[in-house]
Subunit: 290 residues, 2 copies
DNA sequence: GCTCGCTGATACCCGCCGGGTATCAGCGGC
DNA sequence: GCCGCTGATACCCGGCGGGTATCAGCGAGC
């Protein structure tokens, strides 16, 4: 078996789809092709890699060890490929005659670090040859994906919630955390609280945010959206832990109490490790000198 | 122009070849195909990305801004794809029934950190369920490439010579640097030297190592190979700066003198940022606890 | 100034392969 | 037992990736 070590992105796309669905039919539907060509493509990939990727158990499909590997590595490769295409398009738009100026996409967690972001954008706009900044508010934790697949050039990330692994980053700010409570709640009158105080309060379970699509277990409501959470807090149904800067978006019916023992939140500006764009360097310089 | 944002690895390979050669004919030859299909493939890629990648100037080809972007990003994507294939194959070999045990490839700079490497391998072999370690001695600075494209799972890297950007790493050791001189040279008698002492000594120019394929300018000889360098030093033709641990491979005709003001060399163990293999984690744990 | 030679682009043809439809083969469940 | 669901197989077709032959621009040289 001569094993050529070139894998086409199409094959990776197909394999990732099957590995995620664990079902050829659904994967084929998702890919917009029929099932038989998909089966054949996967077999071909297995033959070329000389490796079994899927255990076709009767009644479904499971990943082998090699399949797990290819799922992770393949996703990374697809991200890198998509990033190459996206960034090239944007670079092309920039150097087209009469085209747009340099343009940077900055991913931020929707609603987070409002004030910092404001200061950053103002300071950057004041620079003489500053690139245009497009702010891309993302869902909870997917700034990482945005950076990886080229939808964004830089992101404001919040340790320990976001992982900075694989990116370059600079620390911008450290802040404490607050408990966001219903205004009328007894705990809202306290000057400070500890994590223990707000965990296990009867009738006031902690809200649960999704991390990479899965919710941590617990009794609290599952939160998709900042506004939804704000409303649930205002209604006295839940409590949430947020960085200090969240005070910017609190409602009248909310109360904020500092948490003495919550881990500090460190805001970073992060970017893909190998990026060497001048515009990005300028943005980072501005950010760190705030 | 409907711009599908899927780029095939074949297209990336072709483009990178042209961008590196800046010549369709030579690139085609390197790729083992004829020139016309290559021209067509690049045009097709440009059309699909909606971007001009190459400025076909009379008498040759130049990269546009977008082309530069795609060259960098495309290389990264190709590395990631190759890494996915290689690591999948290796994982497959590991989970084949009766197949090889877990196996890790550790890239090291040939000849560097001999003693540390010895201790690391011994300590790791002493672990009960340790994976097998294959040591892959690399040329001067390409451990980074080895990690990126999946030829290695971990590497010993030496700051400030290697860049740790884009990898996870742990610090292992810090050492000073020494000047490696011909044994008979007057400077060899000194207890310590400074960088100024060995720069610009008449008849004894500093050896020049290639960094990513290019040699820094200077009068000294261009070095490809440790043995070659050792010989040139022994012959009294050059002098080199090395970490302390290089004493391990010095010849009788060599003399080593500490450099008081050379930057310290920090040895790290580094690995691809997203790796989550248990075997690798065990190796890193062993390394950091040395 | 004409030709030569070098560049990349075009024209055209062919064979392979990716995609489709129809169908088969194992097996769990009502 | 049959049905329904899974993925695999068989077969066909059209497009596209690859080849050869050739063209088109332009710089260098006698």
């Amino acid at each position: 078996m001569e094993t050529v070590d070139t894998v086409e992105t199409r094959e990776l796309r197909y394999f990732v789809a099957v590995a995620e669905e664990l079902h050829f039919g659904r994967a084929a539907e998702r890919l917009g092709i029929a099932q038989p060509p998909l089966s054949r493509a996967i077999q071909q990939l297995e033959r070329r890699l000389g490796v079994r990727l899927l255990a076709r158990d009767r009644r479904g499909v499971a990943l082998t060890g090699a399949g797990e590997t290819l799922l992770h590595e393949g996703r990374a490769a697809l991200d890198a490929t998509a990033a190459a295409a996206r960034r090239t398009r944007r670079a092309g738009a920039a150097d087209r005659p009469g085209g747009a100026r340099d343009r940077l996409v900055l991913a931020v967690k929707a609603g987070a670090s409002h004030e910092l972001l404001h200061k950053l954008l103002d300071a950057h706009a004041a620079e003489p040859a500053a690139a245009e900044i497009e702010v891309l508010p993302s869902g909870t934790c997917d700034q990482e994906a945005m950076l990886r697949d080229g939808r964004a050039d830089a992101a404001l990330m919040h340790a320990p919630f976001n992982s900075l692994v694989g990116f370059d980053s600079e620390e911008l700010m450290t802040e404490g955390q607050i408990a966001v409570l219903p205004a009328g709640h007894p705990l809202a009158a306290r000057r400070t609280l500890s994590m223990a105080d707000i965990e296990g309060v009867p009738g006031l379970p902690l809200a649960r945010w999704a991390r990479h699509g899965v919710y941590p277990p617990g009794p609290g409501p599952e939160i998709h959206d900042q506004t939804q959470l704000a409303q649930l807090i205002a209604l006295g149904r839940t409590v949430a832990v947020y960085p200090d800067s969240a005070r910017a978006w609190l409602w009248a019916e909310h109360a904020a109490v500092p948490l003495a023992d919550a881990p500090p939140v460190v805001t970073h500006i992060a970017w893909p490790a190998h990026n060497r764009s001048l515009a990005l360097a300028a943005l980072v310089r501005t950010a760190t000198s705030l």
